[in-house]
Symmetry: C2
């Protein structure tokens, strides 16, 4: 099967064009079915490609004069959708010139541009950013939203749950992934009104959805392997994800420091290197890089701004998998099966439907 090609925004990211190109080249070495549309400043992309003749042969370059900066407001970036590398990468997906887009640029701008060009799926008000996180169980877990939506109401959270379950099914093969809402306690009375309302709706609709709703979970329990999808608003999700990353780095630094504190420990460190390497592999965010915007009519993947080439390659691999597994079609089909009373259409659509029914 030929895979649709992947549009890479070569200009996004804190680490520059070379890291994006190195990452694409690494992904290409691993899977020679991958083909790319590299979007950005042509001379700089050409220069970065000199080291990678294999990638060069599998890529087309689409020149973009402009770059979306990290500090730019989404509304500003939207106005430059036709000239920036990010905007043109997404535009290529819209035109069908690429199957998916990957960018390491400004998350807010990427979300706004993707929503504008690709539109949300029927029944979805807002896309959510979802990533796979490691657990102590057999499967990775899907967590969303990780920062695309600062404020979320109950309806957003219910839609996130349905989309997260669809993503989890692709990754885990489970028929009915276990879904929980992130909260500051597991008792029914805990948390915000939106959380309590979403929990009640998911509990009531549980049977009609292809997921098993297990109530609330707390942030210290998400990696134990007893939950497949963790749903939260983008503010809390971003805080939780970064807290985990920071704690992992804190531990790694402490470990290094404590191993260095005596000769005995140094010897222990050398002998136990395979163990600590395994640990490092598990904790390195590059190995979990690649968050997808769920709920769009197309696949758009966000690579971490500070990811290295291995991280970028990982984000490309995630993108390819979502294309192979027909993520967009499967979520759309899931949503179509769900009763309208569960995902509830936006107020405007409801009003339009009511007006039509009245004719």
């Amino acid at each position: 099967m030929t895979l649709p090609r992947i549009a890479v925004d070569a200009m996004g990211g804190d680490e520059g064009v070379q890291v994006m190109i190195d990452g694409a080249a690494l992904a290409r070495r691993r899977h020679d079915r991958f083909n790319f549309l590299l979007v950005g400043d042509q001379p700089r992309i050409e220069a970065a490609l000199v080291a990678h003749p294999n990638l060069r042969a599998a890529s087309e370059i689409l020149h973009a004069e402009d770059v979306v900066s990290g500090e730019e407001k989404p509304t500003q970036a939207l106005r430059r959708a036709k000239t920036t590398s990010m905007g043109l990468a997404i535009e290529a997906v819209k035109r069908g010139d690429a199957g998916a887009a990957v960018s390491a640029g400004n998350t807010g701008a990427l979300m706004a541009m993707a929503k504008m060009a690709l539109r949300t799926m029927p029944g979805i008000d807002r896309p959510a950013l979802a990533a796979l996180l490691p657990t102590l169980g057999d499967n990775d877990l899907v967590m969303l939203d990780l920062g695309a939506n600062t404020d979320c109401d109950a309806r957003n959270l219910v839609q996130f749950a349905i989309m997260g379950a669809a993503y989890s099914r692709i990754v885990t093969g489970l028929e009915s992934p276990r879904v929980r809402l992130l909260n500051i306690g597991t008792e029914e009375m805990k948390g915000t009104g939106a959380l309590r309302e979403a929990a009640a709706e998911l509990k009531a609709a549980d049977k009609s959805l292809a997921l098993s709703f297990d109530g609330f979970t707390e942030a210290d329990k998400i990696s134990r392997g007893d939950v497949d999808v963790v749903v939260t608003d983008g503010f809390s999700g971003n805080i939780a994800l970064k807290a985990v990353e920071g704690a992992a780095r804190f531990v790694a630094d402490l470990l290094k420091r404590s191993f260095a504190s005596s000769l005995r420990s140094k010897v222990g460190f050398l002998i136990s290197r395979p163990a600590t390497e395994l640990l490092k592999h598990h904790l390195d965010p590059n190995n979990h890089n690649g968050a997808v915007f769920l709920g769009l009519n197309g696949v758009v993947v966000k690579s971490h701004g500070s990811a290295n080439a291995a991280g970028v390659a990982n984000a490309v691999a995630v993108t390819a998998r979502l294309l192979e597994e027909n993520l967009t079609e499967r979520i759309t089909a899931d949503l179509a099966k769900v009763g309208a009373e569960v995902i509830r259409k936006p107020a405007r659509a409801r009003a339009a439907a009511a007006a039509e029914a009245g004719q």
Copy 2:
């Protein structure tokens, strides 16, 4: 100097009376100036004290017939303030019969009871739960709110910053602790309206406060040692704290698993035990147990529900330190120095002041 005695709610916590008594006994062995008022079911407390004649000699028992349960709503618990161990422990602080109270019970009930009995300080709308967290720097950091207030407005956050700085000064000895607001990015436009407003107020008032406001921080950067006080709403704070705890446990479990995976690693583990013990010590939440409600006219400390005896002893030690250092008086004095335009009195008090001025 004689320390005021500490009222211990012997019935709170998931681990039962014995752990609370064992913890108090451990704290007493370390500091023989400590005296206690042990509040709860007298026969059970007496039974738990059999193993601790030293603690017995330094304690009075106050019988309470009732216990606040973990699932109880704060409003329900408030009605039983005169009969429950938690209510009577706080009541003892109000009467001056104890200098401070420690409880491992229901956080919401403890907050409600403490607020009702002790009242908030002048200029403070809501108390906040603050804890000390380890960093890679020389000092622990103060983080608040950790779950007392699910929703916070800009005024709450500004008040938390002032109180957190006062606590930090006690712990670190710094004249002007570095304060940051927890957010999902460091750019000015990021986050909720309340966060942006609080940042603007703190920036404008920075000079008149005994703190140095450094803008926003993200959850992956709080333990690096370049910030002394992290301010957040109770929902995000609770999520961040638990995410860190969960990540630390995840790493410890992974480490154990990876060390067990080969003979070579097992040998490495044994040789490097001093290093991993140091790590364990740093990561064990019991070693950081004891969160204080800042903003009350009195010291009330929350011990983690699942803390062991060492954790309870740590919470008692935190309590004693706050008494010795006159936490309540120092925060009250700090608040008095701050201009009313910064901490802004509650609307009702402002209206009353206006009415009075109009007479």
